[in-house]
C-alpha cells in the first residue's frame, strides 16, 4: 500500500538524520582545542616523577577508554554501539568514575516532566483563548489579549523565571522557587515545586500558540463550509469547536511539535534558575566540570528525543486530516 511506502520513506529519512546527528555529537569531543584528555584529567602540576607517572597512566587509561587513538569511523562505531546498549560513558573525576547513564536515568524524567507539563499548560490555556479571540476578532477583548500575548512572548524566559522565582517564590512565598520533589513523595508537593518552572516555560508558548491558532481560525471561519455549518442551525459553540477548530489546528500541531526544540532549550535555562535536577542542570555541571564525554551523551540524548518527537508529529499529521492521508496514500 502506498501509505506504507510513504511511511517507509520517512523512516529512512529518520535513520539518516539520526546517523548524522549522532555523528556530530560523537565528534564533539575531538573538536576541543588541545588534547581532550588533558581536559578530562586535571593536570596535577608536580615535579614528583611518581605523581607524574600516575597522571600519565591515568591519561593513557582514559585515552584508551575513549578510543582516542583510533580512527574516527572506528571510534564512532564503538561509541554508537555503546550508546545503543545504554552505556553513555563515564564521568572522569579526580577520585572516581561514575557512569553517565545513572545521571541520565535520574535527570531525564525531571526534564521530561517539565517539558510535558509546560506543553500541556500552554495548550490548555492557548486553545480556548485562540478560539474565543478568533470568534470575537476585532473586539476589545481580542485586541487586549493580542497585545498581552505579544508582550508576553517578548519577555525572555530567564527574565520571567527570575522574576517569578523572586517575587512569587521568595517575596510572596506562595510557591517554592527552587528544588524538586519526586511524584512518589507526594503529588501535591511535586506539582507545587514544578509550578513556577512550568509557568515560566509555558508562558512564551502560550502567546505563540494562541496567536497561531487565532490566525488560522480567523481564516477558517471565513470559509464556505463554516457558513454551511451555521446555516444548519447548530449552535455557534458547536460550529467553533467541532467544525472550525480541527482544520485550524494543523499548524498548531506542527509548531507544537517543532517547538519541542525551544522547550528543550528553555528547560535548560529554567532548570538552572529553579535548581531542578534535570538534564539542563546536568549539562551545566558537565560544562563546568569539563566533562565532555558526559556532555556528548546528554546532547545526543536530547537530539534523539527531538528527532523522535518530530517524526511522531509528522505521522500524526495523517491522522488529523484525512485529506493528507488520502494524498499521501495516492502519491
Amino acid at each position: 500500500m502506498n501509505l506504507a511506502r510513504a511511511l517507509g520513506k520517512r523512516l529512512l529519512a529518520l535513520a539518516l538524520v539520526l546517523f548524522l546527528v549522532t555523528l556530530f555529537t560523537a565528534a564533539l569531543i575531538s573538536m576541543t582545542p588541545g588534547d581532550p584528555v588533558d581536559l578530562l584529567v586535571p593536570l596535577a602540576e608536580s615535579d614528583n616523577p611518581e605523581i607524574q607517572q600516575t597522571v600519565q597512566e591515568q591519561k593513557d587509561a582514559v585515552r584508551e577508554d575513549l578510543g582516542l587513538d583510533e580512527p574516527f569511523p572506528v571510534r564512532y562505531a564503538h561509541w554508537l554501539g555503546d550508546f545503543v546498549q545504554g552505556d553513555f560513558g563515564k564521568y572522569y573525576r579526580t577520585n572516581a568514575t561514575d557512569p553517565v547513564g545513572d545521571k541520565i536515568k535520574s535527570a531525564l524524567p525531571v526534564s521530561l516532566q517539565l517539558m510535558v507539563y509546560a506543553q500541556i499548560l500552554a495548550l490548555v490555556v492557548a486553545i480556548p483563548l485562540g478560539v474565543v479571540t478568533a470568534y470575537r476578532a476585532g473586539s476589545r477583548f481580542d485586541r487586549a489579549t493580542n497585545a498581552s500575548a505579544f508582550g508576553l512572548l517578548s519577555i525572555p524566559n530567564f527574565v520571567l523565571g527570575l522574576f517569578l522565582a523572586y517575587y512569587v517564590g521568595v517575596f510572596l512565598g506562595w510557591l517554592p522557587n527552587e528544588g524538586y520533589r519526586h511524584p512518589s513523595d507526594g503529588l501535591v508537593e511535586h506539582f507545587r515545586y514544578m509550578a513556577l518552572p512550568t509557568i515560566t516555560l509555558a508562558a512564551a508558548q502560550i502567546a505563540v500558540y494562541m496567536r497561531l491558532l487565532r490566525s488560522d481560525m480567523v481564516q477558517t471561519l471565513q470559509e464556505d463550509f463554516i457558513q454551511m455549518a451555521r446555516s444548519k442551525g447548530i449552535s455557534d459553540r458547536r460550529v467553533l469547536w467541532r467544525h472550525a477548530l480541527r482544520p485550524s489546528s494543523i499548524t498548531l500541531l506542527t509548531v507544537s511539535g517543532l517547538n519541542v526544540g525551544t522547550l528543550i532549550g528553555g528547560a535548560l535555562v529554567v532548570e538552572r534558575i529553579f535548581s531542578l535536577p534535570g538534564v539542563g542542570r546536568a549539562i551545566f555541571d558537565a560544562i563546568n566540570g569539563r566533562q565532555y564525554v558526559a556532555l556528548q551523551s546528554f546532547v545526543a540524548v536530547l537530539a534523539i528525543l527531538f528527532v523522535m518527537v518530530n517524526f511522531t508529529v509528522d505521522v500524526l499529521y495523517t491522522v488529523i486530516d484525512p485529506r493528507i492521508r488520502h494524498a499521501r496514500a495516492t502519491s
Partner: protein, 366 residues
Amino acid sequence: MSRSDDRVEVRAQDTDGARGAPIPRRRLLEIEDLRTQFRTHRGMVRAVDGVSFTLDRGRTLGIVGESGSGKTVLARSIMGLLPKRNVVRTGAVRYEGIDLLTTSPEQVRDLWGAEMAMIFQDPMTSLNPVQRVSAQITEGMRHHLRMDRKTADATALALLREVGIPEPKRRLRQYPHELSGGMRQRVMIAVALACGPKLLFADEPTTALDVTVQAQILNLLQREQRERDMAMILVTHDLGVVAGRADEIAVMYAGQLVEKAPTASLFANVRMPYTEALLRSIPVLDAPSHTRLQAIPGRPPDLVDPPSACRFAERCPYVRDRCRAEPPPLLEGEPGHFYRCWYPVGLSSPVTLRSQPTSGNSGGVR
C-alpha cells in the same frame, strides 16, 4: 412558531402541475424595503438597497444579476446568515408573519435547517472536508429533530437515495473529496433538505459544476421542491438557469430590484434595458460561427456611493437626460410586471409617474 406536521399531507394534495396557474397558497415570505449595509473603511457599502417582494409556498423566485449586484447578499440577508459585526439590516423580513429582523439571533438560528436552508455555490468548499458525509447530513437532524443515531443514519441513507446518489451506503462513510462535483452538490442538497425546510435558498447551485451535470441538479431541485411543497429562491447570474424553472424572476442591479415579472412575461416583454442586455448576451447555439458575443460595456457602480439617478444610466444604450437626473421608481407597468426605467424597452411613450400603482398578489413597490 410551530413546526406543522402536515407536510406529508401537503405533498400528496397540493402539488401544482401547471406552472403559473394561480392557485392560492399560504404566504411564506414577505420582504419589505430590505436594506443591508456593510461597514468598511471606505464607508457604508449599500449591498442591498431597498428590495421588496413576497413568496408563497411551492413557488420559485429566481433572482438574477451579475457579480456584485447584491443577489447573494440578498439571499443571506433574508436568512440572516451574515457576519455579526459591521452589518446593518433595515426593513422587514417576515417569515410566516414574524419579522426576522426583530427576533433574537438564537431564535433565527432555530429556523435554520428546520424551516429554511441554503445550498451554496461551490460544494467543494462548502462541505466540511474532514467530516464524513453521514455526519454532515445527520448533524442538523440530531439537533433540530432530536433523532437518535440509528434513525438519523437511516434517514440520511434515504436522503442520499432521494437525491440520486448511487451506492448510498458506501458514500455515507466517505469524505467530500472522494466524491465528484455533481455528487457533492447532491450531498449538499441532501444536507439542506434533511430537516424538511419550507424555504430553500439555492445560491448559484450549478455555477461550479460541469454543464452536463447542471441540468441534472436543477431537475433534482425542481423535483424536490414539488414533492416537498417548498418555496425556493434561486439565485444565479445565468438567465438560462431560471428560464424554465422559476415562476417569477427578479432582476437585481447595484443592490436594487430593476425588474420583476412572471417568467413568461419577462421573456416575452422585457422592459428593463439591463434585462434586455442580459438576454442578448446569452450565446446562441445556432448563430453563425465567429459571431461576436455581446457584452454590456462598463462596470457596475460603486456601492458605497451609488449614483442618485438611475444606476444603470452609465451603461444603458438608451440613456437619456432624465435617466441621469431622476432615479426611476419601481413601477408596475402591466399586472405583475414591475420595472425601474423611465424609457422601458418596447413602450413607445416614456413612463410618467401617475397614481399609486396597483399592488397585486405579490410584491411591494419602491
